[in-house]
Symmetry: C2
């Protein structure tokens, strides 16, 4: 991985709290969170199913699900079976579905290196039945490896404000 432009000298800057990976880990960084997410991807929507299939306690499931709903990863919507009272189910939002690459990447890696013969489950293309892989990919469609990548600053990005902007009395010192 190469750093280009102003990033080239790594002693001159630090990513600090602005790292997207760090922010992502704050939301989905616990074991229960990822496993819950796996289940959601598998199609699970109901509280009890989450608890049973993930193998966590109800308290933990409730906490994580609530947190996911607050984060916008899951949508909590009422449902009702005939003769039963109204309950809620948890379905993936767009934001949640877009975590699929992360979930699959972990699974792919675990299958390859942490299991005797590739793990108990295989993910396949529903149409063809062929294998599914997940790798970084360039615009042209070519697979890229670590050495093929470069990092450039994103000029559109602005550091998040964490205090109310002060009335300016000189050049602002917004996280240089």
């Amino acid at each position: 991985m190469t750093f280009l432009g102003p990033l080239a000298d790594r002693s001159k800057w630090q990513i600090g709290d602005n790292c997207s990976i760090g922010k992502a880990m704050d939301v989905i960084g616990s074991r229960s969170a990822i496993l819950l997410l796996r289940e959601a991807c598998y199609g699970t929507t109901r509280f009890d199913d989450f608890v049973e299939r993930v193998g966590i306690t109800e308290a933990v499931a409730a906490a994580r699900l609530k947190q996911f709903v607050a984060a916008g990863i899951l949508d909590r919507r009422p449902y009702r079976e005939p003769g039963k009272r109204t309950r809620h189910e948890y379905v993936l939002t767009r934001m949640g579905r877009d975590l699929l690459p992360a979930v699959l990447a972990l699974m792919q890696w675990g299958d390859a290196y942490l299991q005797p013969n590739g793990g108990p489950l295989r993910v396949v293309d529903r149409e063809s039945g062929g294998p599914v892989t997940i790798r970084p990919r360039g615009e042209s469609g070519k697979d890229l490896d670590l050495d093929d990548l470069a990092i450039v600053p994103n000029d559109a990005w602005t550091p998040p404000r964490r205090t109310i902007p002060q009335p300016l009395e000189g050049p602002s010192d917004t996280t240089p």
Copy 2:
């Protein structure tokens, strides 16, 4: 996501401890672990650089690095600068490099949903400068979404033995 064959009835089986994602999370599931991994992907190899660039304490860095070496993700190799004593650097093994998809997937998701305008850094193709994406992909090269995937049992896989097999005295109840 659809389950095929014997997996179709989800009330009949549980993945339990055999989940590759769970095993992966046991190794790289903490915040410091992922951030350390990010730095390793960025090309960092030395103890002090890890500590400074990730923003964790030396104790935590030492613990995680040791754990990574034990897991086979990093290789600890001696190096020596002229006039300095021998030290060790930590470089990604094949196993470690193959975590790149997981790291990039998290970054991609964080950039998209947790940042004001796409996060501070952009990953690009070193050759073309074009954007890099990471998505599940079928054999044909087609991008696949959640609904395009299916899960089938992996017949090659055998559950890891954790106890000596008992002499059978009836139908075994190994994780129904």
